[in-house]
Symmetry: C2
Subunit: 337 residues, 2 copies
């Protein structure tokens, strides 16, 4: 029932109750479906609500029900350029499911003081639970959330069996890809990996060793370089690696892979003729590279969806198992032909 001015009146439960000559509790019941009403009055109320475009005030509901229908999403402030796609996809997944259940997602970019920020949200009772996209080893966030007793799930690895977590099977995937290379005759493999402080680095390394062990290859620590960050060491590391004449260079992420490719180009080393290249992560720029790069592909959106689903289940009181490991794809391309 818009007025002549086109400004729509915003109805409250009370308004509707008065307008219809019933009690506002009755209206509330009609909407929520709780308690019993005659089908007739329910229909009458619902009809009217439809016409006048009534929408409940979520804030008032929150206060009355002590539930906000908000979840806090903690996202790393800085992530590698090439992980951006991952986080964004993950965010999409989370938002999608949240939306399906009528929840909203409150961003926490954990820049300087992630713990303080999330603490404020919790203490002010602005959220019901949190999803932490955790990427750093020994993040203080997890301890904090446990202490606060807020329902939460983390995206990433944990050794802590008491926390709900969802993760890609990085270890298994890296193992499988490495194994496949070995099966195909690769023997001398080099591994170049990123941030040592990042959980995923360790999982991937483990997978790499798993495959070596399984194939009876000795662990050649000389061929493994971790914590190779962008600023400095990468060029010399690549030189050192090349000097050892590997069959294949395994890059832990696409940033490293890109740098390796550039370097090889300058050094006139041909892929895959002289050396094979594999990346443990799949970015579109490398897919387009010539030769295209063999890599692993994880479904980040799915990960976000599952994380969100688990949190909502938990908020709804459904207990649930600890881990879920969605699948992955090995994308075999020209760089390992």
């Amino acid at each position: 029932m818009p007025t002549e001015h086109g400004e729509k009146k915003i109805y409250t439960l009370n308004d509707i109750a008065k307008e219809l000559g019933v009690n506002k509790a009755t209206v509330s019941k009609a909407i929520s479906g709780k308690g019993n009403l005659s089908a007739q009055t329910r229909a009458r109320i619902l009809d009217f609500i439809d016409q006048c475009g009534y929408r409940p005030n979520a804030v008032a509901q929150s206060l009355a029900k002590n539930q906000t229908y908000n979840i806090g999403l903690m996202m790393p402030d800085y992530v590698g350029v090439l992980d951006e796609a991952f986080f964004r996809e993950c965010l999409r997944g989370v938002c999608k499911i949240a939306s399906n259940y009528g929840y909203d997602v409150l961003m926490v970019m954990d820049s300087e003081k992630p713990v303080e920020h999330i603490a404020r949200l919790i203490d002010n009772r602005k959220i019901d639970g949190v999803i932490a996209m955790r990427s750093l080893v020994d993040s203080p966030v997890v301890g904090f959330l446990k202490e606060k007793q807020v329902p939460f799930v983390i995206i990433g690895p944990t050794s802590d069996q008491s926390v709900l977590s969802v993760d890609n099977d990085n270890r298994g995937a890296c193992r499988d890809l490495t194994s496949l290379l070995i099966t195909r005759g690769t023997r001398k493999m080099a591994l170049i990996g990123g941030d040592d402080n990042n959980c995923v680095t360790h999982s991937r390394l483990k997978g790499f060793w798993d495959a070596c062990d399984q194939a009876g290859l000795s662990r050649d620590e000389q061929m493994v370089y971790l914590d190779v960050n962008r600023d400095s060491r990468l060029p010399e590391v690549i030189d050192t690696v090349l000097a050892q004449k590997p069959d294949c260079i395994v890059c832990m992420d696409d940033y490293i892979c890109n740098m390796v490719l550039i370097h090889l180009r300058t050094s006139k080393v041909q892929v895959p003729r002289d050396v094979k290249i594999v990346s443990y992560y799949d970015n579109i720029l490398l897919e387009n590279n010539i030769p295209s790069i063999t890599s692993l592909h994880f479904d980040a959106a799915e990960l976000g969806k599952i994380a969100c689903q688990k949190l909502i289940d938990k908020l709804g009181g459904k207990a649930d198992g600890n881990y879920i490991l969605p699948g992955y794809q090995m994308v075999m391309r020209d760089s390992t032909k």
Copy 2:
């Protein structure tokens, strides 16, 4: 005052009032600083609050003050891979300022039904205002927000003078970079551009033409290719362009630039000897390319900050001018030597 169990009691205003033998209105005033209180009782109350770790229930405050201290941030669901860095930086900027002012950011990933989603948020009164990262031409979102009379600011270009907006000076930046190339002797330039439905594409094209006009070069439409998306046309477009022997290829974004580079490599065309390359956007992968690529760099975080600041000003009743155009950097690198 934690109990023996380590579970901290959660205090309400009422609890504190009782504990201290004062009225809860008094406590409220002590906290808000509104109204006048004796310095003594104020101090006593504030002390106690400090000790017991009281935090106001934000939901109750929202209801009483009719203000949520939440802002909705609309983010495009799908963005080009290489724009991800831009959006993430922008998001950071927004979150940063929001946090400074005690606001929280509610994500809206406008996938299928952006308007419906934001409508729900508004109608349920979960947010006070919105920031729209608008990237598409003729987005229905803006019209909707105007109609709803919700305070909002958009990040991106508008012709609509009645809406608050913040944008990079894409046109000016592209003009300047193009002009500089012309000054340096470039005459025959090709332009390859992305999504025709994206506002930024048009701004950049205008800047390109501006520079041509200014230098008295005729507008050679034969050398301009828009809406070149990834799936298909790019390789043939590049061939067509190369056949015309340009001095320089201007790429509207880094995805295109990357494809061009790959293609040139395969065709044994050398940069910058045979042709110069410029990108209108700056991604780290291209910075590392050999040769490194000349490009424009925009400060996305700053853009986000300003957008958020403007919205908060508006929410606080401060009217403000319509546009702000932050600066940019021209990063001259090897590809135009």
